[in-house]
Subunit: 399 residues, 2 copies
């Protein structure tokens, strides 16, 4: 699978830079910067793991200000489990760039992704810093997306333009992530820039809603990372009337943000390590959304379900079994299962559609619907199949 | 890996039978019976999934009597998600054998393992029933263990003999299970027979304690099945003084039962689908046993940890990351990690033992210790690595 977006629209006043710092090894650009000509309203969400990388801890402090100017990000090293030196390194990185560019150190967010537990090669970051600052404006959003890739096989960018409050507003998101994704955003970095003029509370609320039904509803392997970060910077340069919570323009903005987050999360699942199929699991008519989500995640995370899909085996019994241990409340004898539109299970037993089901399961984009037929809450989770290539990629990651 | 136990000791008064019923396909004995000359005290534990196979529902009713005489078990078909017909089939199976042998239908437990969602081939069970009853006494415990195998690569039997209450007591367990195992005993059938004389409450308590730290502390792939069952039958024919709760003889018996359950669960992990290594994960000095268990399970279930072990990559960062999202309370900056005896992580950062760690991770039997250095509770979980062969086995299971 590959997704190519040649030139995403860029929000006004945002500039980009990418350089080769050889963080892990030489040969590619692995240090990037997103820079706004004006100070921005900022919102962020971070990994809920109790093992947080140093830059995550730093950014969680900075985000309290609700503002920001730039993001500096490297791939190749997560700067996680690196002790007090890790935090000094993250702070130094921000300081280097701030000094060279003449901006406030506390308006620079630092992000890292890569191997855990290895100290940051600061001598190489120091050497690359001036090139990074001098390069501002010479790279594109796509270059940033490419620089932050680790096991990703394609770079991930989406742009949306909407007329809001009398002006054309652009929102653009880049992200990286291909494995270790699951509820609460695992090994996932996402940077969204927009020229919208928006109140801080409105931006924060829109982000939380967008993430809840996108990055927090995808799963590749059930793991979660130490570095997950979603940051949004809004510099107000579009000239729209200020977007306030609960307004009409908020709805349009929040919808566009949700669209970007969902689109990027779909790209992450498409790029699931070793994946050959994109799978949407929907649980319908559950007692409440939480139960529906639990059921959908149990199915989406089940190795037996994922390997069956990979093997083109319409083994719905594994889906029932996964729903059964999910803790979602339901009566198996009322439950229906569909593969795309094929009605495979009726009231908990097979519906003699084996041939049709086997044809459907070969789809590159498969939809599994589990209809509990009891209440009326639903949830959708995106996942992929599990293949020998996932094992190979992850068995050999550091070598 | 293979485990060969040529002749396990058999408790007095237990007889076995195995026949070919061609449940899934012909070519092997796939229907077995365990029979006691005398009525037994019985205890059982079952899957906690809300999708339970018909025989599980039947056995859960029967076990309320606290007694039993025989177990009839087939491989090749789980009789799960088979609706009301599934229950009729399980009841009919017990009735057939009861009629032919002239015993009470309600003293016969029925167990099934295999594919979910396919109706039981009752015409073949009916045809095989008389041979099964006639064959009582002509097979061994090992034959039963072989007949209940699905993806298992070796049969699993353990015997322990102890002098209890003035007599030699024998306890023998057989089980099957190689994938889909996790807390709450997944796709696992275990039958334990003993000639001990024991009170019902004592047998039940000993079983619950044994399972809590054995079958409920192993994980292959995080899945859980619709059919998991552990049954113990005690016929009292050893002639020992009745074992009562809290007595000295209870301690000996419970210890022996725990030894069997742990030994069998170790065999299941050794036989994990596609596994090349047996891995014990211990979390030490946690706030309480539940936290320790959570942490150990998160590490043991992490696909990234399991693939790293397979790839001989001493990637301790993935262990920290898994502990981090486990919800166990701890301070990463106080945490130590050991691979066997090599001290890999000291207070949350690497201890420069990469070469030694890489040597250890090649062990066929690896012990990972995560020492939280905070409180004093511990828990151990057994698991295995995750390989391309796991994918192959499970992608092609039904074909």
């Amino acid at each position: 699978m590959s997704v190519n977006i040649k030139s995403a629209a860029t929000p006004k006043g945002f500039l980009f830079s990418t350089v080769e710092a050889a963080v892990k090894k030489p040969g590619r650009k692995d240090l990037a910067m997103i820079y706004s000509e004006k100070e921005c309203i900022a919102a962020g969400m971070f990994t809920t793991s109790s093992v947080k990388a140093a830059p995550v801890k730093l950014d969680m402090k900075l985000i309290k200000s609700g503002s920001g100017r730039a993001i500096v990000v490297n791939s190749g090293n997560a700067n996680a489990c690196t002790g007090p030196q890790g935090m000094r390194d993250a702070v130094e990185t921000a300081g280097l760039v701030a000094g060279l560019k003449g901006i406030n150190r506390n308006s620079i967010y630092v992000c890292s992704t890569g191997v855990i537990g290895t100290p940051m090669p600061m001598e190489r970051i120091r050497a690359a810093a001036s090139g990074l600052v001098e390069g501002i404006g010479k790279s594109t959003m796509e270059d940033v997306a490419a620089a932050i890739m680790t096991t990703d096989t394609f770079h991930k960018v989406i742009s949306v333009r909407k007329k809001i409050g009398g002006a054309m507003v652009t929102i653009t998101g880049v992200c990286k992530g291909a494995g270790m994704i699951r509820p609460d955003m695992a090994t996932m970095l996402c940077f969204i820039t927009t020229d919208a003029s928006i109140e801080r509370m409105a931006l924060d609320t829109a982000l939380r809603q967008a993430v809840a039904r996108s990055f927090n509803r995808i799963t590749i392997d059930g793991d979660m990372s130490t570095n997950d970060t979603v940051l949004v910077l809004a510099n107000g340069m579009a000239g729209n009337g200020m977007i306030k919570l609960k307004s009409e323009s908020y709805k349009i903005f929040a919808g566009a943000l949700a669209e970007i987050a969902y689109g990027l999360s779909e790209m992450i699942v498409k790029d699931g390590e070793g994946a050959t199929k994109l799978v949407e699991v929907e649980v319908r008519n559950a007692k409440n959304e939480r139960d529906a989500e639990r059921g959908a995640f149990a199915v989406a995370n089940s190795l037996l379900v994922k390997t069956a899909i990979y093997g083109n085996d319409a083994n719905w019994g594994r889906i029932m079994a996964a729903a059964g241990y999910s803790n979602a409340r339901f009566n198996p004898e009322k439950t229906d299962i569909f593969f795309n539109k094929v009605h495979v299970v009726k009231k908990g037993v097979m519906n003699n559609k084996d041939r049709e089901a086997t044809a459907e399961i070969k789809s590159k984009k498969l939809k599994i619907t589990v209809d509990l037929q009891a209440w009326n809450a639903s949830a959708k989770v995106l996942t992929c199949d599990l293949t020998e290539n996932y094992i190979r990629i992850n068995a050999e990651y550091r070598t």
